[in-house]
Symmetry: C2
Subunit: 288 residues, 2 copies
Amino acid sequence: MARTTPPDANGSHPDISLNRRNFAAAALGGTLVAGGAADALAQAPPQPLPRPRMTQQSETPPLKVAMLVYPGMIALDLIAPQTILQILNSDIHLVGETRDPVMTDVSLPVTPTCTVAECPRDLDVLFVPGGLMGSVACMKKPVILDFLADRGERARFVTSVCTGGLVLAAAGLLRGYRATAHWGVVDLLPLMGAIKADARVVHDRNRVTGAGATAGLDFGLALAALLRGQEAAERAQLILEYEPEPPFHKGTPALVGPERMTQVRAGRVWMDGQAREAALAAARRLGI
Amino acid sequence: MARTTPPDANGSHPDISLNRRNFAAAALGGTLVAGGAADALAQAPPQPLPRPRMTQQSETPPLKVAMLVYPGMIALDLIAPQTILQILNSDIHLVGETRDPVMTDVSLPVTPTCTVAECPRDLDVLFVPGGLMGSVACMKKPVILDFLADRGERARFVTSVCTGGLVLAAAGLLRGYRATAHWGVVDLLPLMGAIKADARVVHDRNRVTGAGATAGLDFGLALAALLRGQEAAERAQLILEYEPEPPFHKGTPALVGPERMTQVRAGRVWMDGQAREAALAAARRLGI
């Protein structure tokens, strides 16, 4: 990944190229990352401009992050943690089975930046987003599972949000670990050797898993604190103004209550059944 | 936008094409939207498969939504509300100045589905995401401002998140309305005739504005309730498992405290200054 050119003696930057880390922090009003950002956002203005100052984060090497992308994934599951990781100064690899763009739930195609074969071998973070039938497909793909098992063996943190936890589990990466996933599928984790934990974000040794979709923000900040310390994570929280106030409280099955949940689950029978079959097949493959 | 082919007498669908609304709801485990979704997610399987049942939402016409997209925007600002609106059954137009892909903070290009000239004239929702220097650029572009002023005059709801509020204000759409925006720029809204309101989501007549980036979830659910009723909004909340639990609480300037905020604001001086200049220029143009 391209790095920002170091500032010269006057503190100005010779390059004005768009850089992921700078772009993110500057676009969000951040102060975490080195200069060049304002230029990038202004789309290569014709003359030098004042730039945000460097801060301590720019002195640390970027985090090496691999985020799996696959057809059917939930864009929000990817974007929420990605936004936080980028503010922390990360080299983010979007890893696809191939380099073909994959379609997301909101019809936004995402183009992988590398294939599973090209992904760096040693990572700070390995991450899998959710996307129910897309996740189920991943649970059956040796090329995906082998990739995750390999990188997961050495990664500093092995992580997921939503139904991405099923994919980690199918790769054997959650055996003996406390973990969570979207409420619709969390009960399937123990089939693959994980210990189901009742929390929005679950951290067990170097595994960090989040509940459904929006848990990606809470997950992302918890992971940020593990990676860069709480103060850096709090700065990301401020930049993103993350002090949530949901207008109502029906975000979990317990809050919704058994009557409505019976209806809701009835509407998911086919999909959840497919996920269960894939979990059972993965368990057989893992010898569980 | 493509519509789902109506079910035949047996309730099955002849088409198995990927449909935004079905895809979103099915991918997220939803039960809100008509059949065909499972097929779409399974990527056109060779034989007919059971499908999630239709529910009441599928009987209502899709919402007509236009979301402005522009270089420098924050992907999360777009994706969070878009995910919610899609679950509600919406035809979503991503409206660009041209059809050229625009780059976002997380280096994910977004391709507009139509230009400002091609966007439908009558909308249920007109939405502007944030992206600081990108927003500032929009505040100076007559083609964007004229588009917003025109569609905003007739739209059922005129909305924004984060620094998108500056763009609405620059188009004259927040004059005399209570509104909010990202904490870094919210004080600029009154320069353009808006009444700054101290809330995460502000609803004044048909204007609904959200605070910084992550407020897009709270904003999206509040808007969902206005559009489809609270029960439908609560279903979206459950699908997305939105019962947030931030690991710490430094998401607003008040929580961070004056000392650290002085540092933070010092790092934003250049960008916020550009936003202020653009706001003052817009005010002159609006005759304020």
